[in-house]
Structures are given as structure tokens and as C-alpha cells.
């Protein structure tokens, strides 16, 4: 099922300018895990909704996290409620969305120097939250994960798993769309028209076309994660959010079979999560002024490595292929200032409290509990709408979609080998993504390409995620996009620069060893050979004689 742009559409006169107006029952602002999960939940209850996303699916924290389906053991000491939620939600997701999950199991390990009291209390705390944790003898632990430090002092097996957040959100969105929901990407909310204590209309800017449009809805849900405070303010509502940026590192190879957690009070660089052919290490917690400032840094990269090597020594020398970062939206309830001591539980706010009756904010929380967050939000929405249909996402399987499937490492090469079509060239050699796979991805995202179709392809596949970080595949795919007429004029080059520039955010913090060699080659290619850093549209650029 394709995403479709056209909702119920009519034209409304706004002064001299005609502004397109879309109508729906529920407007969901934000296309992360919660927003897409909510769209699906409402669609399953028969409630029409429109999801509008400023950039692309999972552009915020939903795409900038470990991809860890928490067993709950991480929170047993700090937040028992969150721990129990994780346990329950983890079990539900493993049953209803197995395609998005690799049930790896997890370990909690402590090394010499870690807090022994915390270690001693751990099993008891897990019991209290009924979270399965089995003590391992140290030899057994190192047999399970040979890269663990030989300075282990304690190890437990838990039920952590790895989850693909992109597949999850794309599948949720695809299912919602199949059930009649609608979505728009690259649509930034820029204001709300208020009247009678309600949001009358939401005003958007379509960042692909540069045009604005409006949405009229009975209920508006703000599911913008870290941006929730900014969006709420547009409706005159107040939410105080602490922006906690967390950086993560992606290794070239998968280092462990299981999730490995440091058995200590939640801190930086505690968790190594396998994801397909790589592992993800993190994270940090740095308070930033604006969620738009979030990007991984060299300093955080170094700190993660230096800290995590106590748990798995090879992390000091292994090859990292990129870093990324996400902003945790931590809702400030009291006067607290420290990001880690603020609740990781979610906040569901009925803005009737701010005298806006048809406005709801859902933020905070974690990927593992996104379904529950969507359920509670949908309950509130339905209550306001007088809809009595119950939530079914606890048991209703999440269908695997063609939209989400290409994010899976290894699928593209398998499909290429299976279909062995002679004309189907491999365009991304690192991750073996072929021309047919690219075409299938494009087919499933008509319109709404945003400022770079290549970037949108990257989000929906493994393209740009291998060692070349988009350096070579970006060029090849751009040629293909020109061949297929998806780009014209200099647009393809501009979009390629956008894509490479975006990959650079994650690439630049890990430039030593082989990645530095790769970056040197990439710059020699794009700048040294192709002059792409220069402006090719200037009038002073002629090829005539100037002598």
C-alpha cells in the first residue's frame, strides 16, 4: 500500500492566497514510533487519521536509539514502573511484530571496580519486578560471549532483544495506510489557528514544494517527541522538556550475539546491542539547548569507547563505521536538572489543562513502550471523540510491509541472489543493494521525497550504511535516479550533496584508522575529482579565455 498525499481536499480562501485544506478526524503530528503506532492503533479502531511528519519516518529519537527491546532489567533499580512496562511490552512485541525483532537475549555483566552493592541487589530487584534474570557463572558468560572482559565479576542472562526501529515504524505506517489512514512527510507544522478553546486548523509548510497547507481535525495529537514543547507552544500550551542528546557508535562487525549491558547504575556507554551485521554501542547523555542541535561529537565518541572497553576490551580497537545521535525528550515534572534522574516513563497530556480541549501531547517514554504509549493516547482520543472501539494492538499481528522490509540487513543481497536478474546491477556494493531493490523502495514512496530522494532511500534501506558511508553508492544511485527520470537538471547533484552531507554528521566523529582512509578517498572523489564543493551555477564560471 502506498502512502498517499491526497486527503479530503478542498480550497479555502485565505486573504488573497488560496491555501489547500485537508480534513481528517485526528491529526497526528510526528512520524516516530509513537506517531506511527498511534496511526495504526486509531486505524484499527476505525478512526480516520492523518499523520504529518516534518522530515521523514523516525527522523527524531525513534531513529536515533540503540534499537533495543528492553527486558526491563535496566530499570529495576531506578524506575520499577518502567521496568514492568518494558517486560510486558517486550513480550507483546515479540509476539505481534516478530519480523522487526531479533530475539537475541541479553546479558548484564559487571567488571572489577563496578559497584558491588548494586550487583548484589540486582537479582532481588529483578524478582520484585518479575523480570527473569538468571545468574551465570563467569566461565559460562564468557563462553556465550567470548569478547567479554576477563575481569568479569558477575553476569546475568535476561530477555533483552534487538528491534529494528525503522522497520517497526514503516510497518506501523504501512498497516495504518492500508486501513485507510493517511500520511504526509516533509510537512512542518508552523502554527495553529485557535478559536473557542480549540485548535481550529493546523498550518503546515510542505518542505518539498515550499507551499503551505492547512489541516482541519477534531483532535490534534502532538507526537513530536523532543519537539513536543515547541509544537505545544504553537497552541499556547506549556510543556517543559529537557533535551538529552545521546550519541551511539556503530561497529563494522557484529561483536556479540546478545545484547550486553553493564551491570551498574544506569550510566554512559553501558549497552552494546547487535543489529544485523553490526553492533551499536552507547550511549551518552548530554543536555543540549535545542533538539535541532543534536549531532554526535568527537568528544562523546571518545568517551564512549574509553568507558565501554572495561566491559568488552576489543571496543578500544575495533573499527567503527559511524556515529549517530538522538534526543531523549525528558519531560520535567519538578525542579530536577539531571537528565538521567528524570522519569523515562512517558507523559500523556490532555491540554484541556491549558484550555485547549482538542489537543493532546504524548512524549517521553522509550521505544520499547511505544505501543503502550500509542494505546493510552488512542484511548484518550477515542474518549474525546466518543468512539468506543477497544485497542487491539496487544494481540493483532503487525503485518510485515514492503515499505519496511529493505531496512533489514542481508535482505537485499538475498533477494538479489534469489532473483538473479542479469540486468539487476548492484548499486550499493557495501550492503549489496541492487537496482531492483532501489526501484521497489522508490515505488513505495511516491511524492514526499523531501530535500533528497537519496536520503529517503537511505532511510528505507541499508544504502549508505556500509563502510563507504554513501561515498560510492551515492554516486551510482544518483546516476540511476537520473536514468529513471526521478531527478532532473542539477537536482540530482544537489540531493546527492544533501545525502553525503547528512552521512557526514555520523561519519566525521569516527575518522581514524580505516574510516579516515575512506573519508580521504571520498573527499578526493567528490572534491578532488568531481569539484562538487564548487558552485556550478555561477555566472563567472565560463570556459572561455580570460587572457
Amino acid at each position: 500500500m502506498n502512502e498517499s498525499f491526497f486527503v479530503v481536499c478542498c480550497n479555502r480562501s485565505e486573504g488573497a492566497v488560496k491555501v489547500k485544506t485537508l480534513q481528517t478526524r485526528v491529526l497526528i503530528v510526528g512520524g516516530g514510533a509513537t506517531g506511527t503506532g498511534l496511526a495504526r492503533d486509531l486505524a484499527l479502531r476505525g478512526v480516520p487519521c492523518l499523520l504529518a511528519e516534518r522530515r521523514d519516518i523516525n527522523a527524531g529519537a525513534s531513529g536515533g536509539n540503540h534499537g533495543l527491546l528492553h527486558s526491563g532489567a535496566r530499570y529495576v533499580a531506578s524506575d520499577m514502573e518502567a521496568a514492568v512496562e518494558c517486560r510486558e511490552e517486550g513480550a507483546i512485541l515479540k509476539a505481534v511484530a516478530p519480523q522487526c525483532i531479533e530475539d537475541t537475549g541479553g546479558l548484564f555483566v559487571a567488571v572489577q571496580g563496578d559497584d558491588e552493592q548494586y550487583v548484589a541487589d540486582f537479582e532481588g530487584m529483578c524478582k520484585k519486578s518479575r523480570i527473569p534474570a538468571r545468574q551465570l557463572d563467569l566461565g559460562e558468560a564468557r563462553e556465550l560471549e567470548p569478547l567479554l572482559s576477563d575481569k568479569l565479576i558477575s553476569a546475568y542472562a535476561v530477555e533483552d532483544a534487538a528491534i529494528d526501529p525503522f522497520m517497526l515504524s514503516l510497518d506501523n505506517m504501512a498497516h495504518a495506510l492500508a486501513l485507510g489512514a493517511q500520511s504526509i512527510r516533509n510537512a512542518k507544522v508552523i502554527g495553529f489557528s485557535m478559536g473557542n478553546g480549540r485548535i481550529q486548523r493546523a498550518l503546515f509548510l510542505d518542505e518539498t514544494s515550499g507551499e503551505s497547507f492547512e489541516v482541519e481535525a477534531e483532535i490534534v495529537v502532538n507526537a513530536t517527541g523532543a519537539w513536543a514543547g515547541i509544537v505545544a507552544a504553537l497552541a499556547g500550551a506549556d510543556i517543559h522538556i529537557l533535551y538529552s542528546s545521546g550519541s551511539l557508535l556503530v561497529t563494522q562487525d557484529r561483536l556479540t550475539k546478545r545484547v550486553v549491558n553493564r551491570l551498574r547504575k544506569a550510566s554512559d556507554s553501558d549497552i552494546l546491542v547487535p543489529g544485523g551485521t553490526v553492533s551499536v554501542l552507547g550511549t551518552t547523555s548530554v543536555t543540549i539547548d535545542s533538539p535541532d542541535d543534536c549531532r554526535p561529537t568527537v568528544a562523546e565518541t571518545d568517551r564512549i569507547i574509553e568507558d565501554a572497553q572495561a566491559m568488552i576490551p576489543i571496543l578500544a580497537t575495533t573499527r567503527y563505521i559511524r556515529a549517530y545521535a538522538g534526543v531523549r525528550p525528558l519531560v520535567l515534572l519538578g525542579e530536577s536538572g539531571d537528565a538521567r534522574s528524570v522519569s523515562r516513563g512517558f507523559s500523556l497530556i490532555d491540554h484541556a489543562r491549558d484550555n485547549v480541549d482538542n489537543f493532546i501531547t504524548i512524549t517521553g517514554g522509550k521505544l520499547t513502550t511505544f505501543r503502550l504509549m500509542a494505546e493510552k493516547t488512542a484511548d484518550m482520543v477515542c474518549n474525546k471523540l466518543g468512539v468506543t472501539a477497544p485497542c487491539v494492538t496487544r494481540t493483532e499481528p503487525l503485518p510485515a510491509s514492503t515499505m519496511g522490509r529493505w531496512t533489514e540487513p542481508g535482505l537485499a543481497p538475498k533477494s538479489w541472489v534469489r532473483n538473479r536478474d542479469e540486468a539487476d546491477l548492484i548499486l550499493c556494493e557495501c550492503e549489496m543493494v541492487s537496482r531492483n531493490s532501489i526501484d521497489s523502495i522508490i515505488e513505495n514512496m511516491p511524492g514526499m521525497r523531501g530535500n533528497s530522494m537519496l536520503k529517503a532511500i537511505g532511510l528505507r534501506s541499508r544504502v549508505g550504511k556500509g563502510p563507504c558511508q554513501g561515498g560510492f553508492c551515492g554516486l551510482r544511485i544518483t546516476g540511476h535516479l537520473y536514468d529513471q527520470g526521478h531527478v532532473s537538471d542539477e537536482q540530482g547533484l544537489t540531493e546527492l550533496k544533501t545525502f553525503v552531507g547528512r552521512r557526514w554528521r555520523g561519519f566525521s566523529p569516527v575518522l581514524w584508522g580505516l574510516p579516515m582512509v575512506q573519508a580521504d578517498l571520498q573527499e578526493a572523489l567528490y572534491c578532488g575529482a568531481l569539484d562538487m564543493e564548487l558552485d556550478h551555477n555561477t555566472d563567472d564560471f565560463t570556459c572561455e579565455d580570460d587572457e
Binding site: 546491477l425 537538471d489 542539477e490 579516515m516 573527499e523 575529482a529 569539484d531 580570460d546
Partner: protein
């Protein structure tokens, strides 16, 4: 380890443009030369020879006249390696280098005091100093905006005629393109295989026959650079004869055939000048003998050998060439452990924007040399009396943004040889 009892006059470490040029110039002086080095920048070369094109890079100012650009860069950045050479030396070096290439069948063309514009495989226009003769008609066609057909092939990825036409259509309206089946080719095609196939005149004839219906009203035919490996000019000439059009090549995305063509020239030409080459082997260790001579360990395992030389030229390139290595906290030079001029911390190596016009601070990192191109130690004196450095490993330039890569490599190699002869 195999011992080689020969004592060479000079060891050239590196097999990119600078290493090849150094070996060429040194052997031309009658020196007994040995050369080592793994795949250098040459294998990823587009085949163009840049001399100097952009300065100041932060403004992206492009120069038609490379000599005026060099004057300006020496004035504004006195430590730029070009500052170590006179204009005559730079010209002489590039001229000698391209004459050697021409003698080996790889002719280059260009103006004395003017850069030439060429279309890149991305569709951008690049200014460069010397282009392979097989590409020259492309520069002429571009200059005249002549009616031109770009031919590309099913199965050859990374080269899109449509991309070239689309990016140029407002400037060059009579540029068009056609995609054809390569004679006898199916599935994925590789430039090197195509080049071999095109050595066969019947393949050339079949290809032209497929093209001609699309080429009725054009004067020029442009191809991806797959027109023969060892004697591309012969293929170009024959295609021109068959089609009655001017024919040219456009480099493909690196690694393109330009690399193997250049490498083949050196593989043929240098041994005939008496250069002993240990290609694809890296220097793994170096000892200074009592005599002051260097004893190098070259290669690894059973193929490991020992080479003794009176003098050495370090032309190992930057990170891609492994002349510089980035550790997590610092940059190092792995062969002699020479000091590397570099930004204070890794945080300052790169800017936040990849395409930032001013480039990245790490690009100017490298080895500092004295006026005789001898690398300096931490105290600012030559680290060894008999060690010279050339090419991209030198500090204080950004060849990628300034468009001075090949010129700088060739000119500093020339100067290094000249100095070691003194």
C-alpha cells in the same frame, strides 16, 4: 628475508603520481633507482593532470591561468609546497612527465597558460591543466557547445549519459544521450573488460553501427572511458573513422580505466629506464646504517626483502596512500615516524560540513620540509641529510580543494630529485 646486495642511489617510497614521477626523474638523471609502494592515488585517478585551479578555496575562486593562481597561492600561503619551486621548475617537471607519458603511448593535451574545461562523470565541469588526448575532443565540444551525443551502456553502472545531459542542459542544449547494448555484453559490464573487448575492430564496428541511427545530427560522440586499455588513441581514431564524428572519452567514476592506463605506462616505461620496482609492496621497517645509508625492509612474509639505498624520497601520499595514518588521538607518519604538522586534537581535524568550501583543517596536515624538501624533525632541522619528501604527504596544501594534486606531486618530485643530486 631476501637480501639484495645492490646498493641503490635512491629508494622511492610510493607509487602514486609523486612516486612515479620521482622514479622517472631520478632514473633520467642516471641514478640507480628502486621503487616500492602499494596502490597509490593513481588507481583512483580520473586521468586529468591538475596544476592549480582554485584559490582562495574559501571563496571557491577558479582560475583560468594556473600560473597566476600559483603566484597568488604562494603570495597568500607562503608555506604551500609550490613556494619551494620556481615557475620554470614546475613547468619543466610537468612537461617532462607528460612527454614521458606520450612516449609510452599516453598522450596529454592542454594549453601552456590556461586550464582546460572538461565534463566529469558527475556532470560537473572541471578545470584541469592537461587532459588525456582521448578526452580532448570533449573539451573542444564543451567549449563550442557543439551538437554532441553521449553514448552509455546497459550494464555499466556509475556512468549516466542522462545525468550529464540533465546537469548541462541549460548550458549545452545540443548535448544528448543514448544507451545501447555493448556488443557481446550482457549483465554487468566492467570498464576493463570493455576496454579489452574494444581492442577488436569488429567490436568497434558493431558498436558504431548501433550508435549511428542516434547520431544523425551530431558532430561529436562522447563515450565513457572504456575505449581500449593500452592504445586508446588508436581505438578513438578508428571509431572516428567509422563514424565520421569527432570522438572523445569521459572518465568514469574511479576506480576508472585511467588508473590502469597510467599504471601500465609506468610498468612498461620505468623498468626500461632501469628502475627496479617492487610494486604492491610496502616498506615495513627502516634502519639507518653506520654509513648513513638506509636499509629498508620491504613487504611481508616469505616475499619480504631488504633494500639498501644511499638516499630516499618519501612519496607515500596521505591517508588513502597510507603515507599518513590517523590514530584516534593523533596523526603519524608510519615509515620514519616523522613529525606530522596537525591540528591540536581530533575535534579540529574536520569541519561540520563535508562540502564546506574552506575544506577541513586536517587537509593541510602533513610533513614539513626545508627548502631542499628534506623532512624536518621536531627541532626544525632535517631529520636525515639524505631523506626527501614529495607529493601529497607534504603539509600546507589542500590539493582536493585547490585542484593541484598531480601538479604538486610531479613538481615536488622533480625538485626532490634535483636537490638530492646536489
Amino acid at each position: 628475508m631476501t637480501r639484495n646486495d645492490d646498493i641503490y642511489d635512491v629508494m622511492v617510497i610510493g607509487a602514486g603520481f609523486a612516486g612515479m614521477a620521482a622514479a622517472l626523474f631520478a632514473s633520467a638523471q642516471g641514478l640507480k633507482v628502486v621503487q616500492t609502494g602499494a596502490t597509490g592515488g593513481i588507481d583512483f585517478s580520473t586521468g586529468f593532470i591538475d596544476l592549480m585551479g582554485v584559490h582562495p578555496i574559501a571563496e571557491g575562486k577558479r582560475w583560468q591561468n594556473p600560473w597566476l593562481a600559483i603566484e597568488a597561492v604562494i603570495r597568500d600561503c607562503p608555506k604551500h609546497p609550490y613556494g619551494l619551486l620556481s615557475k620554470d621548475e614546475i613547468f619543466e617537471s610537468v612537461d617532462t612527465f607528460t612527454r614521458f607519458l606520450a612516449e609510452q603511448g599516453l598522450e596529454y593535451v592542454g594549453h601552456f597558460a590556461r586550464n582546460t574545461c572538461s565534463v566529469t562523470p558527475a556532470g560537473t565541469i572541471k578545470r584541469t591543466y592537461r587532459v588525456p588526448k582521448t578526452a580532448w575532443n570533449g573539451s573542444l565540444a564543451l567549449g563550442k557547445k557543439a551538437p554532441t551525443l553521449i553514448v552509455d551502456f546497459h550494464g555499466l553502472k556509475g556512468f549516466s549519459g542522462t545525468q550529464l545531459v540533465e546537469t548541462q542542459k541549460h548550458h549545452w542544449p545540443e548535448l544528448k544521450t543514448v544507451r545501447i547494448q555493448f556488443p557481446g555484453g550482457h549483465g554487468e559490464l566492467y570498464p576493463e573488460h570493455m576496454a579489452w573487448a574494444l581492442a577488436d575492430p569488429t567490436v568497434q564496428e558493431k558498436m558504431i553501427a548501433a550508435i549511428m541511427p542516434h547520431a544523425v545530427d551530431v558532430e561529436y560522440l562522447g563515450f565513457p572511458a572504456v575505449l581500449g586499455l593500452n592504445d586508446p588513441q588508436k581505438v578513438v581514431d578508428h571509431l572516428a573513422e567509422l563514424s565520421g564524428k569527432h570522438v572523445f572519452e569521459i572518465p568514469t567514476m574511479p576506480p576508472s580505466i585511467a588508473g590502469p592506463r597510467l599504471r601500465a605506462v609506468f610498468d612498461r616505461g620505468l623498468p626500461s629506464l632501469g628502475v627496479c620496482t617492487h610494486s604492491q609492496k610496502m616498506v615495513t621497517d627502516v634502519q639507518v646504517l653506520d654509513s648513513g645509508m638506509f636499509e629498508f625492509s620491504v613487504g611481508t612474509g616469505a616475499a619480504k626483502l631488504s633494500v639498501t639505498a644511499k638516499k630516499a624520497i618519501l612519496a607515500t601520499g596521505r591517508f588513502f596512500g597510507k603515507g599518513l595514518q590517523a590514530e584516534r588521538k593523533k596523526l603519524v607518519e608510519p615509515v620514519f615516524d616523522l613529525p606530522v604538522v596537525q591540528p591540536e586534537a581530533r575535534e579540529q581535524w574536520h569541519g561540520q560540513e563535508f562540502f564546506a568550501p574552506q575544506g577541513h583543517p586536517v587537509n593541510s596536515a602533513g610533513i614539513e620540509v626545508d627548502e631542499r624538501l628534506r623532512p624536518m624533525d621536531a627541532s626544525g632541522r632535517p631529520a636525515y641529510d639524505n631523506l626527501y619528501a614529495a607529493g601529497a604527504i607534504l603539509a600546507h596544501h589542500d590539493w582536493m580543494r585547490m585542484k593541484c594534486g598531480a601538479g604538486l606531486a610531479i613538481a615536488t618530485a622533480y625538485k626532490a630529485v634535483k636537490e638530492l643530486m646536489r
